[in-house]
Symmetry: C2
Amino acid sequence: MSPSAVSSTPSPGVQASELTASAVAQKIGASANLQPLDASKLIFTKTQTPMAVPEPGDPIIATSSQCTDHMITAVWDSTVGWHAPKLQPYGNLSLPPTASVLHYATECFEGMKMYRGYDGKLRLFRPDANCKRMLVSATRISLPAFDPSELEKLIKAMIAIDGPKWLPKSRPGTSLYLRPTMIGSAGALGVSTPKEATLFVISTFMPNLSKPKGLRLLASQNGIRAWPGGFGYAKVGANYGPSLMANGEAISRGYDQVLWLLNGMVTEAGASNFFVVWRTREGVIQLVTAPLEDKIILDGVTRRSILQLARERLTIEVVERAYTMDEIVDAIKEKRMIEAFAAGTAYFVCPVSAINYRDQDWQIPMNQGDSGDYAALIKSWLMNIMYGRDEHEWGVVVEENEEL
Amino acid sequence: MSPSAVSSTPSPGVQASELTASAVAQKIGASANLQPLDASKLIFTKTQTPMAVPEPGDPIIATSSQCTDHMITAVWDSTVGWHAPKLQPYGNLSLPPTASVLHYATECFEGMKMYRGYDGKLRLFRPDANCKRMLVSATRISLPAFDPSELEKLIKAMIAIDGPKWLPKSRPGTSLYLRPTMIGSAGALGVSTPKEATLFVISTFMPNLSKPKGLRLLASQNGIRAWPGGFGYAKVGANYGPSLMANGEAISRGYDQVLWLLNGMVTEAGASNFFVVWRTREGVIQLVTAPLEDKIILDGVTRRSILQLARERLTIEVVERAYTMDEIVDAIKEKRMIEAFAAGTAYFVCPVSAINYRDQDWQIPMNQGDSGDYAALIKSWLMNIMYGRDEHEWGVVVEENEEL
């Protein structure tokens, strides 16, 4: 067993997968005598060794390790609160071997992208949703609170600097991945709430993860990703490392990802939300995905956006409910399955072509060859918002600082 | 959602909470064309800035952050395997912000101690058990395999150097905590098996965690530590950070730790194994603890040692089975509860005086005032082995290098 300090301050009790404004205010107010995260205090140090932007096709892109010139960092400690954030040259972090994050997984993150629009503008997609979820995740993993709108300002400050160079106007329709992260950086081996934390934001190139032949999923048989009373709804590291073993098994058997089941119910595909479109036995076409109430699955921003657009623009039924793999098999057997897809920031909207369940492959229709109709339609709606073809409140234009 | 590289190598499939020699050989053989971890290649660099050893009572001891002069490090990568390990001055680690461990909790560790015996000798307690469990944990979290006996040699090499100074012969009956750790240090944001890992071993001072009035536990009501098909049996970071929120709530309500329940069954106390001694309704005295089969609880070295000594030396029944909090309450109501204790490396054998269950405090007898009889007896047996009063194969003497 490990030691556990008994003198630590209790962690805040907010667990909701979506925070209301009042809950945020309450959380931040709870540490009223500590300095809040304040983007207006940003200290800017420009890199003296700018890096080269890789050309499309450069093999470094596939490594997901090429970052841009700068990063945001902000340190919190339990006596001062948030110190002034910094925009500084990208570089390694120096951590004591006793740092909480290296032992106890006191870490959470967000996945988002910046998009270079066809109109030349740089956009984020619903950054407020990511920043609020980051607070939910930080709270769940006993890391400090912050005002999500301050995090959003810091993200914008960084991409205002790195966007013009790294996502140039000459490459409309492309994106860069953004990774806000918070870690427990206090050096102390007691199992307790970290007394120091470091927030950082980096931006990387990502390989194209789309699957022209559709994702092939291996339904989990023994392993589970998350459970009631756990932390499946939070974007914390503890949901990812433990999933790699099952993911490795899926890949070794010729599949792309695990379709995570819990007591036979379908939850997530890999680290993405999962949707099916089927016809009920009564003939009603439904878009179905797992619900948020039991806190098993991530409250995906793409998931939420798909549900809202489908409700606004489609005439099919949109249903959030617990459903089972057996229901999917029945729909396939009875030729009622229309399509299925995974959805999230990195994989975006990714059609699913097959699911292996109890050692049997079940084919899912993709009636456009590389996609089903609904996935293709929804994907186009989202891309039009992200890349500025449709004006929409979810596509947030970021002012760029091209002087620097 | 997060990206997930589909080209990663599958992680090995060993999941057993105890590895047989053949399983270890198979795991290491699986990467036959990679260099194995080899303690005989150790490269030694002595510190040029030795630190002062804190006196007993120095406040730094309570911070669990004062390490000794040296640390072991060893880097593995997916093309070479294990590079030559180093014994080097204690210092910070430099990690890219994209390092797997900071995002995906690809981390595992061990907790052990070195003991300065009353006979002047330095001992480890069953280090082979910790090193084997470290391999189990590394496998579960998709970190590379190694021969546990090589890790044991590295640990011994470090304490041979730091033991004489940091745990001097003038302080018999004291101990220092040892923390072997492995992290995914590869800088790449794809959710995949890390292509680089770093093993390190550090040693720290720990505050005395004993509770003269006994541990007061708060039984979990909604939160759950581990689940069948999960990873509760492995010493991975993902079991610790998510528990801090409930632990903080317990402390804020005046308790020391959470007693983790799963469907009403008793699993662990904080990050320790949990034991009760009761009289059955038939009048039989039993020592009871949760079983390992369902892989919910950690296969504690202290747990395993207590069970074995109790079976060898006591006449009471020793039972590993699933049991419920309701059974504990019944035993207390019917005055059949004799005592309870938590057990692990850091808390050692720690008597429990109270459990809050469904908002009601249930008192547990401690008939020696600060302990029950069985906990006191078992603790004395273990201490006699650790501190060399009893010659026993579990107390492994480490040769010290007092020249350096």
